[in-house]
């Protein structure tokens, strides 16, 4: 809400407060000032002038020659606007004047007639948007005044963001009331007084739906003349962010801003029939609203209707058919209280958020309608020359809403939440300043006026006490909890992340969605777990319409993104949830959403330098990464076995088994996927369930290093190609028994002279005993049994022992 401090001064005396201070006070009360705008005329040498004569230009049809005066000698000014006549008071830019934006005005000849300066429009003066005609002042403004000196044009506007619980502050009176509470001063509310005529209202009011309409007040004003509203009102409305339209319409906006009660003016003669009914819309009913949009209504909409049809969307927007126009003379002023959820529903359903709906959906004081209707009638009769009828129609459908709420407030509540110091005198003082009734000592009986619908419970009053006392006037104290910190799995997850960073992988964080096109790239079928997709009900874009079932599309997206920016060596990992279309195993009602760790790398990996050739990534890279991780994470009992799965290289991917249970896949991404992703070379990836990796486990146990010499030797085996190196290592290792300290494959060879389907594996073994130097008999025996064990799994020792 935009608050002009000039206008605000009508309701509260804040001398000599500075705008900055007022802004700070409002902020301390919870009304954020989004912007402080200084308004000041940026023109000079522009004065008010009376038009004495208007004559046709001798040589041009569309412009006229005017004689204007500031009180002295009349001068000639040529003008192209037609919205005024002799007698009007206008803004005259004298020769030498500067207009808004810097245009300089001189004396010049226009088609043979010398013009002394010009007559200005609002837009030329930077006062508004209207460039159709010139700015015409009210007759009360005398000629010869320096326009830049008009007090109303120098103003400060505070743009307030009012929280949804405070509809009462969405008005000038409401803002004044807040400041009055802070400064301990009084505020003023308008008390309408105006001449009345005795006549029966023409329009009867029926409220059919008390659930939607608490109260409906109508007032009729006859004999109005719709024209431009006075300069002061236009200036105030503009400063408050409203575009002036005509006096009657401007008055409705003025009263809305002043009191916070939205009102609507109907052209009484355009209403069909002699009655208004508040009812739910009929199925199939239509209404063209003031913005020209044809709205299809449903029975969830509440309408103000005449005998024939809906004429307004309750509390939201009026209808075009009964709109006040230049020819309107009879006006019906509506001031009503609407049910907040009903208005919220309508404004959302019709995507129609107006000043009125913004207030009604939060709750407008049901005591306001008669005051607001009177205020509007006062202004209409004063500014549009109408006569207001003395008889007012006031239908109260919900008496209960008009009764103030009482709350029994125990002082203990304040002390419990706010700390010591909130005794009866302080609490009573604070509550009274907030215009709440406070009676008694403890409990204090608090009477809440109807303009504070947000105050229903003791805790609501606690907040009010704190707010007015000042949130920043409380001492600081730091309580300590009982501890707990991170759980085992949280600590182990951190270890995992640090290990991955240490191995050269960078952490990425992706949005948790995947696109249809990305699913196509990977090409999994319906049987695949990855096909257990959950779709969003209300996605904003295609990109965010399907929840990810795997981390890999996101990681591939990262590789592509970097590739497209010229970075081909990408090594990234992500820790996060995937979402699967099946029930959560522990939590009821929500889908399964396991945490995963995924990684992906392209190009080469490892340290680089002058004369250092790095290895391009391949299956062995990802397996090495896993082995390092398993060591860092203290995970034993794992095994890799070949796997064929959609999106993975059919011969270069492995399933990881941890204690015999599958936890994920690692390997090379299928070359077709790589091609479709417009990448090249080998791309490695891994995706594992996080839980089994970070679960608590048996801790590793210390082995004292032997002080005796090692026995180190190499063995080369010839074996069928499909014999897993792991199988050979464990077979020979088992045979060596406790003596085995380490075993490492240092060469793998295929081709001549081995023949098809054969390979050779060279392994470096270290044997050592904890308590003695191994004898040649012992080592000889070990070697023989290792060779024997190798033979048992199909591997022949090459050469002699």
């Amino acid at each position: 809400m935009r608050v002009s401090l000039n206008w605000l001064a009508d309701y509260i005396d804040l001398e000599p407060s500075q705008p900055e201070e007022i802004a700070q006070v409002l902020e301390s009360l919870g009304h954020e000032v989004e912007e402080t705008e200084r308004l000041a005329p940026d023109f000079g040498r522009v004065v008010t002038a009376r038009v004495l004569e208007v004559e046709a230009h001798p040589r041009a049809d569309r412009i006229r020659v005017c004689r204007v005066t500031t009180g002295g000698e009349p001068q000639t000014v040529v003008c192209g606007a037609w919205n005024f006549d002799a007698g009007a008071t206008v803004a005259w830019a004298l020769p030498g004047a500067t207009l808004s934006g810097g245009t300089e005005i001189g004396r010049r000849s226009i088609r043979g007639v010398e013009s002394n300066g010009m007559i200005c429009s609002e837009r030329e003066l930077g006062l508004g948007e209207d460039a159709e005609g010139i700015l015409v002042f009210d007759s009360g403004i005398p000629p010869g005044e320096d326009l830049a000196g008009f007090e109303s044009l120098t103003d400060t506007v505070l743009d307030l963001s009012i929280t949804p619980n405070r509809p009462d502050v969405m008005s000038y009176v409401g803002v004044a009331r807040e400041l009055a509470a802070y400064y301990r001063v009084d505020y003023r509310s308008p008390e309408p007084a105006f001449p009345l005529v005795d006549a029966r209202p023409r329009i009867g009011i029926t409220v059919d739906d008390p659930s939607g309409c608490y109260r409906f007040v109508s007032r009729e004003v006859r004999g109005c003349q719709v024209s431009q509203s006075p300069f002061w009102m236009r200036t105030r409305l503009r400063a408050s962010g409203q575009r002036p339209i005509s006096n009657v319409v401007d008055i409705t906006n003025y009263v809305l801003l002043e009191l916070g009660q939205p009102i609507h003016a109907f052209d009484l003669e355009k209403l069909g029939g002699e009655g208004i009914v508040v009812r739910r819309a009929y199925p199939g009913e239509r209404l063209t609203t003031l913005d020209g949009v044809v709205r299809d209504l449903t029975p969830s909409d509440l309408v103000v209707a005449d005998r024939q049809r809906a004429s307004a969307l309750a509390g939201t927007m009026g209808g075009g058919a009964s709109e006040v126009t230049a020819s309107t003379t009879e006006v019906l002023i509506e001031a009503a209280s609407w049910d907040p959820p009903t208005v919220l529903h309508m404004s959302k359903r019709h995507a129609l958020r107006t000043e009125a709906s913004a207030r009604f959906e939060r709750g407008v004081d049901p005591a306001l309608p008669p005051v607001a209707a009177a205020r509007a009638a006062e202004l209409v009769s004063g500014l549009a020359g109408g006569e207001a009828l003395a008889e007012v129609t006031d239908v109260v459908a919900r008496e209960d809403r008009l009764r103030p709420v009482t709350i029994d407030f125990e002082l203990r509540e304040a002390e419990r939440i706010l700390g010591p110091g909130f005794d009866a005198p302080r609490v009573t003082d604070l509550l009274s300043r907030l215009h709440l009734g406070a009676d008694g000592e403890d409990p204090i009986r608090v009477e809440v006026p109807t303009f504070r619908p947000d105050l229903t419970r003791p805790i609501d009053l606690v907040e009010e006490l704190a707010r007015l006392w000042g949130y920043n006037n409380f001492p600081e104290r730091v309580p300590r909890g009982p501890g707990g910190g991170r759980s085992v799995s949280q600590r182990r997850t951190r270890t995992l992340r640090q290990a991955l960073c240490g191995l050269g992988f960078s952490e990425s964080v992706s949005l948790s969605f995947m696109r249809a096109s990305e699913i196509e790239i990977w090409g999994w079928d319906e049987e695949d777990e990855r096909a257990l997709q959950i779709h969003l009900k209300n996605p904003l874009r295609d990109e965010e319409s399907i929840l990810r079932t795997t981390l890999l599309p996101g990681l591939l997206r990262v590789a592509r993104y970097n590739h497209s920016h010229g970075l081909d060596e990408v090594a990234v990992f992500e820790l996060g949830r995937v979402f699967l279309d099946r029930p959560h195993q522990v939590l009821p009602k929500v889908p399964d959403q396991p945490e995963r760790v995924g990684l992906l790398a392209t190009g080469r990996l490892g340290g680089s330098g002058l004369g250092v050739t790095r290895r391009p990534v391949d299956f062995y890279t990802v397996a090495a990464v896993w082995r390092a991780l398993s060591h860092q994470m203290d995970l034993g009992g794992w095994r890799l076995e070949p796997v064929e799965a959609a999106g993975w290289h059919p011969a270069r991917a492995a399933r990881l088994l941890l204690d015999g249970r599958p936890v994920g896949i690692m390997g090379e991404v299928h070359p077709a996927v790589v091609r479709r992703a417009e990448l090249s070379g080998r791309v490695i990836a891994m995706e594992l369930d996080l839980d089994p990796l970070v679960a608590d486990r048996r801790h590793w146990q210390f082995r004292a290093p032997s002080v005796f010499p090692p026995y180190t030797f190499d063995m080369a085996f010839e074996a069928p190609e499909d014999l897993a190196a792991d199988d050979l290592l464990s077979a020979t290792g088992e045979a060596a028994g406790d003596l085995l300290e380490s075993a490492r494959v240092f060469d793998e060879f295929r081709g001549e002279p081995l023949g098809r389907g054969r390979k050779s594996l060279a392994i470096n073994y270290t044997l050592r005993a904890p308590d003695r130097t191994l004898s040649s008999e012992e080592t000889g025996e070990a070697l023989r049994s290792m060779a024997e064990a190798a033979r048992a799994v199909g591997a022949q020792l090459r050469g002699e022992l």
């Binding site: 929280t163 939440i417 606690v462 309580p479 501890g483 952490e507 889908p591």
Partner: protein, 345 residues
Amino acid sequence: MESLDALLEKAPTLVKGTSTLDELSEAEAELLGRRSVVAELQRGIGRLPPEERPAVGRAIQEARRTLGNLIETRRRRLETESERLMLASDRVDVSLAALEYQEGYTHLITSTIEEVCDIFIGLGYRVVGGPEAESGIYNFDALNTPPTHPSRLESDTLYLDWGDPADEILLRTHTSPMQARYMEKHDPPVYVVVPGKVFRADTPDATHSPVFHQIEGLAVDENLTFSDLRGTLAYFAREFFGSERRIRLLPNFFPFTEPSAEMHASCFSCEGGGQCRVCGGVGWIELLGCGMVDPNVFEWVGYDPSQVSGFAFGMGVERIAQVRHGVSPLRHFFDNDLRVLSQFR
């Protein structure tokens, strides 16, 4: 014996005159070698009368020791010199990065979360997580957010086409559902922080993302007041943004806290006024929303609101990281551009 004295006299000049290890070896041969004066005297010792032999023998030993020390000293010196020359020729360009290890970088979101959690662990809090696909019950109902509340509309919340529509399965809009989930399962005192992903129906732009991260804090105990909230947040601000920070609280509105506030910290980059990148010249930085836990939340989880009180706060991880490091626009958190990731530390 005169020859021995003469030898000892000329020896220092001879030894110190050598400039290489080879020259020193020659000098050594001359002074102590097989043909040296010392060697000859040694060989002649048997021809001397027995009573003279000990004295001569001692003199020879003395001379040998003196000469040996002389040579050894010189040798060490020449060796040092020769090594110095050798090392000098092994000079590197210290400015040349001839080798670089491949570093991996922790994401700024993670490191920020870890740091904030560490701060609260220091105050005795526990770190807990929770489901990202949530039900409307925990995301809204439990948190005093009625079915008519605007935040429940499809324009704000991403709903999933999953499960019983009555359960309103959605992507959690804040980390606050864990308040209810945790209190439901644990008795007070409760001191927890909940970091995690949250979702909103927002199209990505400079300041919005459909996914971002929050850290929720919740403390419930017997005597917690507004002062505990203030003190805790001030402590956090000082730990995270620097020991000079002050905070201010401005009243605000959230359904699940009352009193509710927005917390600002004094700017770490300026004294207020001027063109500050961080605070825009206001002198204060808006950091997070907070408040005292609403009694309705306590009732929902089965706590007695007349017996316990507590406070909660929720901060945007990207927001506080952005404030501290200037990362902007928001998409840089999620594009995972290596040129950005490699700036994180």
